[in-house]
């Protein structure tokens, strides 16, 4: 008996010693959590921080007033096409207007390419984190992943349209991504369709937060309609545009109220971007509206754009303004009407990414392409009548298509680079821009250059022709 208790004592001692060893060992190996920082794995293990990560992505879309998702595309796309010119020589905008971009152009590097891939990383890491999260409900997972995939799709949509083949990064491992070569346009579009179809199928009709500042099902459907149009898939483009138009959630304003289209939560908007703390007006207002009524605006509307409006077009009076300086009229875009707000107040406008009028124009074009000219004209006239214009006089298919293109030029002017992308997708960039830009214009100008820094640090990348 004595020897037995001694044995117990002994084993106890040994096991205590073993425990001490184990805990001290763990103390040595484990790293204390970093103050004020949290790791990816922790971000997705709390519902609150997941929402913060998702909101982080949205907030970055308006991180400054020149990033391409907050007026950058409206300005530089407009300059590259035939919409805008700088009223005084300007080292930043002249290379875009003259289509003389160099691979070291800092606007392209910072506000387009790098901004896009920085946010794409955020999107990719969030998609992965949401998928692997152990705390989120299935319905929350679907919602977040649908939102993130829609954002990934719209980024790749703009990247592929501005730069052509581009690295298709959908994961977060830098060892894989750092040497990734450019993926062909078709492959990028395949990813865009996959993401948008996934998003459309999982997202709900209702917006997940107040207003329309986060993505719902119709946002994904609207983008799908646009992407089908760009890929000449007329049947599907019509189908998706119809779904949005017939959803009953959006309606066109009357021609008297056309000045209110760009107000927060107007009945025409499908997806809006709020500013951080809801404190700043959209970049277009900041950059297009001159500081006083007597100075030249930084960017003015070209004669080509100004003359494309018919005389009784309500949009010409409500969406354009002019300053007269030294006897010269400078017209500037006035879709957004706030240049600044006083401290503490919220602007009454958000940055509008998608709106209903584009859906009518997409459907009109898709119908016309399928030889449904009557249907095409119905949709076109919806937009014309809303602008206070009579029904179109177009009769033949090519007349109808031309009328739609002209309507897109007016309706979507200086908005997210629509004109620049439309000229390119319809193969009219050379014909339209050559006479305006003269010897500055080259066939290769339809694609912008990849940033030089990317080529230096990733030997697998090849520059676009002409740069």
């Amino acid at each position: 008996m004595k020897s037995f208790s001694a044995f117990i004592k002994y084993t106890k001692l040994v096991s205590i010693g073993y425990l001490v060893f184990l805990s001290s060992c763990r103390k040595f190996v484990e790293v204390n959590p970093a103050p004020n920082l949290i790791q990816t794995s922790a971000v997705f293990e709390s519902e609150k921080t997941v929402l913060s990560a998702v909101s982080g992505v949205y907030s970055q879309l308006r991180s400054n007033t020149s990033v391409f998702t907050n007026s950058g595309l409206s300005i530089y796309g407009g300059l590259a096409a035939d919409e805008l010119y700088a009223t005084t020589p300007n080292a930043t905008s002249d290379p875009f207007y003259q289509n003389q971009l160099s691979s070291s152009n800092s606007t392209i590097t910072n506000f387009f390419y790098n901004a896009a891939y920085r946010i794409l990383y955020q999107v990719n890491v969030t998609i992965k984190g949401v998928e692997e999260s152990k705390v989120l409900t299935d319905s929350a997972k679907r919602q977040y992943s649908g939102e993130m995939k829609t954002i990934r799709a719209i980024f790749y949509f703009y990247l592929v349209n501005l730069f052509g083949d581009i690295p298709l990064v959908v994961t977060t491992d830098y060892t894989v991504n750092a040497t990734m070569a450019r993926a062909p346009v078709e492959k990028v579009y395949a990813q865009i369709f996959t993401d948008l179809s996934d998003a459309e199928s999982v997202l709900k009709i209702n917006y997940p937060s107040s207003g329309k500042a986060r993505i719902n099902k119709w946002t994904a459907a609207s983008l799908l309609a646009r992407v089908y149009l760009y890929r000449n898939e007329w049947v599907k483009a019509e189908e998706k545009a119809s779904a949005v138009i017939q959803s009953g959630m959006y309606s066109l304003l009357s021609s008297q109220n056309i000045g209110n289209v760009f107000l927060k939560n107007s009945s025409e908007t499908i997806w809006e971007l709020a500013s951080s703390n809801d404190a700043a007006p959209p970049g277009e207002g900041v950059n297009f509206i001159p500081s006083t009524g007597t100075v030249r605006p930084t960017y003015a509307v070209t004669d080509q754009l100004l003359n494309s409006f018919e005389s009784s077009d309500a949009r010409k009076t409500k969406w354009l303004q002019k300053n007269t300086v030294s006897g010269v009229d400078y017209w500037y875009p006035f879709k957004y009407k706030q240049r600044s707000v006083s401290g503490g107040t919220s602007p009454n406008e958000n940055e509008i990414v998608l709106r209903l009028a584009e859906m009518y124009l997409i459907r009109a074009e898709a119908k016309a392409m399928q030889d449904n000219l009557a249907g095409a004209k119905d949709d076109l006239n919806m937009i014309r009548n809303r602008a206070g214009l009579n029904n179109t006089a177009a009769i033949t298919k090519s007349d109808v298509l031309n009328a739609i293109m002209k309507e897109r030029q007016s309706e979507l002017m200086t908005e997210w680079g629509h004109r620049w992308l439309d000229l390119k997708r319809t193969n009219r960039a050379n014909a339209v821009l050559q006479p305006i830009k003269g010897s500055n214009w080259n066939d290769t100008d339809i694609l912008w250059p990849l940033p030089l820094s990317e080529l230096l640090y990733n030997p697998s990348l090849v520059q676009n022709p002409g740069y």
């Binding site: 949290i38 971000v43 982080g56 949205y58 990383y121 830098y174 820094s453 990317e454 230096l456 030997p459």
Partner: protein, 366 residues
């Protein structure tokens, strides 16, 4: 034979983790922004769990010798430092979401060097001596290995077996007599200049440098003469005039621009002037990245000459002074060089070269 000799050698390995804490984690932090009232979180770094210590291996051998009752002293040293697994901010293309990551670079960089010094009393008498001392340093840096260099972010910057200070440059092929623009060799025949055309390697690290001093002393008179020498490649005047846009900055031009290209058929070393933002301006930028701006910048310079006369003790006692010295001292008096530009030492035509000064003085202490 040597009356005194000493040999020393050492070898050691040291680690280094001179980066901040938590650099291996894919951390997020909150920002002041909110979206619809929700405080946002933004990713701040990529994940790199393999972060480890940087290793430096140092080896050194030295020898000191003395001959003829200490009249000749000689020392030589050789060192070799190899650092591997360097902790660096590795540059990344932005397609990864970030432009750098804290990472161990799987490369070995070697620094080797020789240092010699010699001091000799050529004459050593009671009231007269002549002493010569000389030193010579040779340092070399080499990228010993860099696995996967060709697919890394540094492919356009480094070459295995070459110093890490090299610069890859275009091969300059003169001013085109027809267009009046600088031209460069299109190595990959792509029709335009790109990183593949940077086929020449330039290194501005000195090959060797040193000094030679002679001191002659006779009673109270001392003469000291010091020469400095350096063998190196440097940036010539073409670099300076091409890296500042003429007319844009407030800078003068060297008179050689008067012989610039003006019309078709002109043969010149300087291209045409332009007011455009393209064409000649771009070629001027390219010139800065070509071999044209590098040339020999070696020199031998009479850096210091000083002659002094110190009064002897009896005289000092009479005037109740502790010391009295008359001297004449000159700096940067004479230079032998083939350098193209103002001065091979600072290699810029817009900065003041080392001044030539001559000072005459009296130093009196009570």
């Amino acid at each position: 034979m040597a009356q005194f000799w000493k040999a020393a050698g050492q070898y050691g390995t040291a680690g280094n983790d001179l980066i901040g804490d938590y650099q291996f984690l894919d951390t997020w932090s909150s920002s002041s922004a909110n979206y619809q009232g929700v405080q946002v979180l933004l990713p701040r770094a990529l994940y790199n769990p393999q972060l480890a210590w940087e290793i430096n291996k140092k080896a050194e051998a030295a020898i000191d010798l003395e001959f003829l009752q200490g009249r000749i002293q000689f020392s030589a040293a050789h060192y070799r430092n190899r650092s591997g697994n360097q902790l660096i901010s590795y540059s990344l293309p932005f397609q990864t979401g970030f432009n750098t990551i804290k990472k161990n670079l799987d490369a070995v960089v070697q620094n080797t060097g020789y240092e010699f010094s010699l001091q000799s009393y050529n004459i050593r008498k009671r009231s007269f001596y002549w002493m010569t001392s000389a030193n010579l340093s040779m340092q070399k840096n080499k990228l010993v290995q860099f696995p996967g260099l060709s697919t890394s972010s540094y492919a356009s910057q480094f070459v295995t077996g070459e110093p890490i200070s090299i610069v890859k440059v275009y091969q300059y092929t003169g001013v085109d007599p027809t267009s009046g623009l600088y031209t460069f060799f299109d190595a990959d025949r792509s029709g335009s200049l790109n990183t593949a055309d940077r086929i020449l390697l330039k290194n501005t690290q000195p090959k060797y440098y040193g000094g030679l001093q002679n001191i002659i002393n006779y009673k109270e008179i001392e003469l000291s003469v010091f020469f400095q020498f350096i063998k190196q490649t440097g940036l010539n005047y073409l670099y300076t005039i091409s890296s500042f846009t003429p007319g844009h900055r407030f800078v003068n031009q060297p008179s050689i621009v008067l012989n610039r290209w003006r019309q078709a058929g002109d043969i010149s070393d300087i291209q045409k002037f332009t007011t455009q933002q393209s064409g000649a301006l771009n070629q001027s930028d390219n010139l800065v990245s070509s071999d044209a701006v590098y040339s020999d910048a070696s020199f031998i310079r009479l850096k210091n000459v000083s002659l002094s006369y110190t009064l002897s003790q009896p005289v000092l006692k009479r005037i109740k002074a502790e010391s009295l010295k008359f001297y004449i001292h000159g700096q940067n008096l004479w230079t032998i060089t083939d350098y193209l530009g103002a001065d091979p030492e600072n290699q810029s035509i817009y900065r003041m070269p080392p001044l030539r000064t001559v000072a005459v003085g009296v130093q009196l202490n009570f």
